[in-house]
């Protein structure tokens, strides 16, 4: 039941608009780049100082001095540019990066996101996530609808330390596509194939808004 990670990435790729600059977080968001249609031209930003992320290198052309924010070896493409971390975040803070796609541990119905810390257990740090969510106009979250133990990750209020407040615009999970409304609430837009509105309702602790018939996601 529901989508796998590839499915979530494929669905998010449908949101990508031609002519935009995009920052992709680590994990599912990175996979999105594999499914952007050929006729959609975008430039991917890596916050460690690269615009125009190319594909992974062939074995013989690996360059330790060329990595993405996930520390993976990458390549440049025709038209790429390189810069410092300060300039990179000037682009982000200055609103020049149009879309940020990132993962989350929790999202609240008011658009808060938590993804950097589990007190007493896991402290990886926020990296660039707090800067990205504070500044991007459009923020899409890619995540599983529920934790491994079955608890909803779409909440009324985040239980974990938050990364940013009232910033998430859209959430794509293994079960559903939802807009986060400015006045609060997850507005259900689409269901994953074979997933019912009732199942989504049960898996969503935060306020779920269902209006009319909810279509299934469409994939080519």
């Amino acid at each position: 039941m529901g989508l796998d990670k590839i499915g979530i990435a494929k669905r998010i790729a449908q949101e990508v608009q031609d002519g935009t600059y995009i920052n992709l977080g680590i994990g599912i968001p990175t996979l999105v780049s594999n499914f952007i249609p050929d006729d959609i031209n975008v430039v991917l930003q890596s916050e460690n100082g690269l615009l125009g992320i190319g594909p992974f290198p062939e074995e013989e052309s690996i360059d330790a001095d060329l990595i993405n924010a996930g520390k993976q070896t990458v390549t440049t493409t025709a038209g790429s540019s390189l810069f410092s971390s300060a300039e990179s975040f000037e682009m982000i803070r200055g609103g020049h990066v149009h879309l940020t796609i990132l993962g989350a541990m929790e999202v609240s119905e008011s658009g808060d996101i938590a993804n950097w810390k589990i007190p007493g257990k896991m402290v990886k740090g926020m990296g660039g996530a707090m800067d990205l969510v504070a500044s991007a106009d459009n923020i899409i979250v890619a995540m599983q609808h529920c934790s491994r133990s079955g608890d909803s990750k779409l909440l009324k209020v985040c239980s974990l330390p938050i990364t940013g407040i009232a910033c998430v615009k859209k959430v794509v999970t293994d079960m559903a596509v939802m807009d986060v409304l400015p006045e609060g609430g997850f507005k259900l837009l689409e269901r994953a194939p074979g997933v019912s509105v009732e199942e989504i309702q049960q898996a969503t602790e935060g306020k779920l808004i269902v209006e009319g018939e909810i279509p299934e996601m469409q994939f080519d």
């Binding site: 890596s46 916050e47 460690n48 100082g49 690269l50 594909p55 992974f56 290198p57 062939e58 074995e59 690996i62 360059d63 330790a64 001095d65 060329l66 990595i67 993405n68 924010a69 996930g70 520390k71 993976q72 070896t73 990458v74 390189l82 810069f83 410092s84 971390s85 300060a86 990179s88 975040f89 000037e90 982000i92 803070r93 808060d112 007493g120 896991m122 402290v123 990886k124 740090g125 926020m126 990296g127 660039g128 996530a129 707090m130 800067d131 504070a134 500044s135 330390p161 938050i162 990364t163 940013g164 407040i165 009232a166």
Partner: protein, 232 residues
């Protein structure tokens, strides 16, 4: 031209005392001053405050200085690749300031640029905001963040000349240029050290004014954290 060349890494770090505040360039293991870190390990100074985006991995980069307990405090944005770091942090042995990456980069830039503080929206409404002045600009809330400076900044460049001009390669630039400007004494290690005039002034990333000592690193391992490739 002023000659800033020192013989090697050991001479470059010769007078860094215990309890010094250091900046170390790099993102992950990319663009880190590996020869200088090796010299700091040999020197054995303790109680260091290290400002660096990451803390290396368990057996390379700043991670090596954590193993030897030379670091008292880390100021970083992301430390996820280092089990020893996480252990020392959760047990309270190591002080850690985690700072949003863009705020960290800008605080360092501000230190070198003589700007004591600035407002940024990053971290508003989170625990990063605790104790900080908040001000609204254009309907959006911002936090007041202050500059960062170091007793010694240690950076790594691809090429440099004897007067301290530096050129970085690829994404190994990252935090190095801002740190070069924010150190009271800046040490630059380079893969290739050349005479003044051999680097095109149009291509200099860090002007030599920021650099007090420069040397050519003996060797570079340039370890890769995530070796990802595609099939031809």
């Amino acid at each position: 031209m002023i000659n800033k060349v020192v013989a090697n890494a050991d001479e470059a770090v010769r007078d860094i005392p215990d309890n010094a505040v250091l900046m170390l360039g790099g993102f992950g293991l990319c663009g880190i001053p590996e020869n200088s870190i090796a010299a700091l390990l040999r020197k054995g100074i303790k109680g260091l405050t290290c400002i660096s985006n990451n803390a290396g991995v368990d057996d390379f980069g700043i991670g090596l200085m954590l193993q030897t307990k030379q670091v008292k405090k880390m100021i970083s944005s992301y430390v996820g690749e280092n089990a020893e770091f996480e252990r020392q942090l959760l047990s309270g042995e190591l002080e850690v300031d985690l700072i949003p990456q863009g705020t960290l980069a800008e605080r360092i830039r501000a230190g070198g640029a003589g700007i004591p503080a600035f407002f940024t929206p990053a971290g508003y409404g989170t625990e990063v905001a605790e104790g900080k002045e908040v001000r609204e600009f254009n309907g959006k809330m911002h936090l007041l963040e202050s500059w960062l400076k170091a007793d010694f900044s240690i950076v790594k460049a691809w090429k440099g000349d004897t007067s301290g001009n530096l050129i970085y390669k690829g994404t190994a630039r990252n935090f190095n240029p801002m740190m070069a400007a924010a150190g009271k004494i800046t040490i630059a290690e380079v893969e290739e050290l050349v005479e003044p005039g051999e680097l095109d002034p149009n291509n200099i990333h860090t002007p030599g004014i920021y650099v007090q000592r420069i040397f050519q690193g003996e060797q570079y391992e340039k370890r890769i954290e995530q070796r990802t490739t595609r099939i031809r």
